[in-house]
């Protein structure tokens, strides 16, 4: 055997004679003192032998996978041969691979979002019942599902020098559109993108206590409270980008206040949060700057615009002007600027949107398709888009969810842990994720 770390493997020598005159055998791998050695002096051969030994020992466990709890299944799947070398050697307990390396084999399994990410990536945007669940279970687990994986694979393979692609998640009520959106936002965040997350566009078209006439444009209306809240959350999500991005234009707010060219974006955002009166215009300025700079080659970042309930931007509002006439959505500064963002006339990012009937205004409760919820105007603006349907739980996903609740001690009723109870849960919920969650809450 010839050991050599850096140079390529030499040609096999014809023969090596030993002192005794007999030929010695030339081998590539040799087992010596319990360890398999190879020419490159790496542990690859040793690990391969270990893996095959383990596989032969636990093969019977694989056959009986279905009878184990969620935690045991989780560990079993970890030991499949496709897992890369380091994880077999690492002493710390396994966590599901990060969002970057999730693939079809992980469908139906839960991955844990690190607790630090909750405050930075999701100050707003998670469904309220999910936030309660995170607080109760003391951890945040998200199920890996087909729509989110599809979105992530599109995002990985898209060409960011071309105009932005719009992705639209649609499905019946409670099928998991917002959670898929949050999963994708988490992926974008871990990949270092700048995330513009609007938790619910419907919040900007209803229940506004203060509607100020806009100083910038005579016929438009400002919403100071909503805008400043959003800016505060935006600041929490994207701290590290705020100092790096410089403004390309001078903005004048009042006779005495203006923000100069070349100042960092963070200053603009801070100004919007403190000066509530001009916060809507600040939002418009921020969106414009990000749109211009997203695809840039020097210091270019990728921009993800995630809008939940995008059908609220077209349609009707419940807001009224002082003479009791209704306000159209385009007369609101925030909505006007957001519509410009969703247009595909910029490059270097992606727009991921969700339809939502839950908070929508004047939409029938059975409507869930893009044509029905967006209306003509909305569909024409969003067209062309990539539709991503979100379906109810499949059998495998339902199993996974049921086992997860059992593991977290959430299903407490003695009958809910039997087969009869499980059949009843399937019947009552029709495998709808939110209905199942509400049922299991009191069982």
């Amino acid at each position: 055997m010839l050991f050599n770390r850096s140079l390529p493997a030499p040609a096999r020598p014809s023969s090596i004679t030993t002192l005794d005159g007999s030929d010695s055998e030339y081998v590539d791998n040799y087992k010596y003192l319990g360890v398999w050695l190879d020419c490159k002096l790496s542990f690859q051969t040793h690990i391969k032998h270990l893996q095959s030994k383990i596989k032969s020992r636990i093969s019977f466990l694989f056959c009986n996978k279905a009878s184990f709890t969620y935690a045991a299944k989780h560990t079993l799947v970890k030991l499949t041969p496709s897992i890369t070398v380091p994880s077999v050697l690492s002493p710390k307990p396994h966590i599901l691979p990060t969002t970057a390396c999730q693939s079809e084999q992980h469908l139906g399994q839960y991955y844990t979002v690190p607790p630090s990410h909750f405050h930075t990536v999701f100050p707003h945007g998670l469904p309220p019942r999910y936030q309660q669940q995170v607080k109760t279970f003391n951890e945040g687990c998200v199920m890996v599902r087909q729509p989110a994986l599809e979105l992530i694979s599109h995002l990985k393979r898209a060409d960011y020098s071309k105009p932005t692609l719009r992705y639209l998640l649609y499905g019946v009520k409670g099928s998991g559109k917002t959670m898929s959106l949050c999963h994708t936002v988490h992926y974008c965040s871990t990949q270092g993108w700048l995330v513009l997350h609007i938790p619910d566009a419907h919040l900007w078209v209803k229940n506004c206590k203060e509607l100020l006439p806009s100083s910038y444009h005579a016929s438009r209306f400002d919403q100071p409270i909503q805008a400043s809240n959003w800016l505060r959350n935006f600041r929490t999500t994207n701290e590290h980008f705020l100092s790096k991005i410089k403004l390309r234009q001078r903005y004048v707010w009042t006779k005495r206040e203006s923000t100069e060219e070349g100042r960092p974006l963070g200053e603009l955002v801070d100004m919007g949060v403190s000066r509530v009166k001009s916060s809507s215009d600040v939002v418009g300025a921020v969106l414009k700057e990000l749109r211009l700079q997203a695809g840039g080659t020097e210091g270019g970042f990728r921009l993800a615009v995630a809008v939940d309930g995008v059908n609220g931007l077209w349609g009707r509002t419940t807001l009224k002007k002082e003479d009791k006439s209704p306000v159209a959505p385009e007369e609101l500064t925030l909505v006007h600027n957001l519509r410009k963002m969703i247009n595909n006339d910029w490059c270097g990012g992606a727009v991921i949107a969700t339809l939502s009937q839950t908070g929508s205004l004047y939409a029938p409760s059975s409507a869930y398709l893009p044509q029905e919820l967006l209306g003509e105007e909305g569909f024409d603006s969003m067209d062309p888009f990539v539709p991503v349907p979100v379906s109810l739980y499949s059998e495998k996903e339902f199993e996974s969810c049921y086992l997860y609740y059992l593991d977290r001690h959430w299903l407490q009723h003695p009958h809910s842990q039997t087969e009869e109870g499980k059949k009843e849960l399937i019947f009552l919920s029709n495998r709808n994720p939110s209905v199942l969650e509400r049922l299991c809450a009191f069982l």
Binding site: T136, Q412, A441
Partner: protein, 229 residues
Amino acid sequence: MAASLTGLLKPWTPRVLLVRWSRYNPYYLEPGPRKEVYHIPETELTPEQKEERELKSVRPIKAATNSVTSSVFNDPVLSKFVNMMMKDGDKIIAKGIITQTLENMKRKQVEKYHKAPEGKKAEIECNPYAIFHQALENCKPVIGLTSIQKGGKFYQVPIPLTDNRRRFLAMKWMITECRDNKHRRTLMYEKLSQELLAAFSKEGNVVKRKHELHKMAESNRAYAHYRWW
């Protein structure tokens, strides 16, 4: 004219006849909603069960009420509690409050469970149904008082209580305590969950009220012989 007069003399019968609250002939049998009873094959039945089945094939059966289901999650004690909480026949609201209470109790306990160290985990009860039943048990009085007139005066005399009466008193005290003695702005499910969790650990106002009743009965022991049944 004769036709209209005879129309007025017709006996009036209502269009919709209420079946359940009318007095059933004792001949009618109670409905049995549990599925397991019917899955037992012929060979494994005891003689009483065989007799019951024979009877059911001959006799008519009463209509089942709306609140009774064949679901495995059906709980008669909980249904009784829901009925007692109901106001103006609005069972949807009452059932909603109870489910929110159960969820709230479970959330508090599961949160405590996940934050507790390994040794303490086994002591924390997370099942809201177990907590509810145990809390109700802890609130049931053992002995009650009744007003008996003797020689022109009324005396509070200690008497034994039936099971139904004890359960009724426990539920009634729980509901009135939550409705009257709590802060105005807290919602009912929050008040109920706090009171039930306190009663589970034998603290709280309802358990105190039970103890006071016991003390009154103890102090009025001398009048026990006024009871003649």
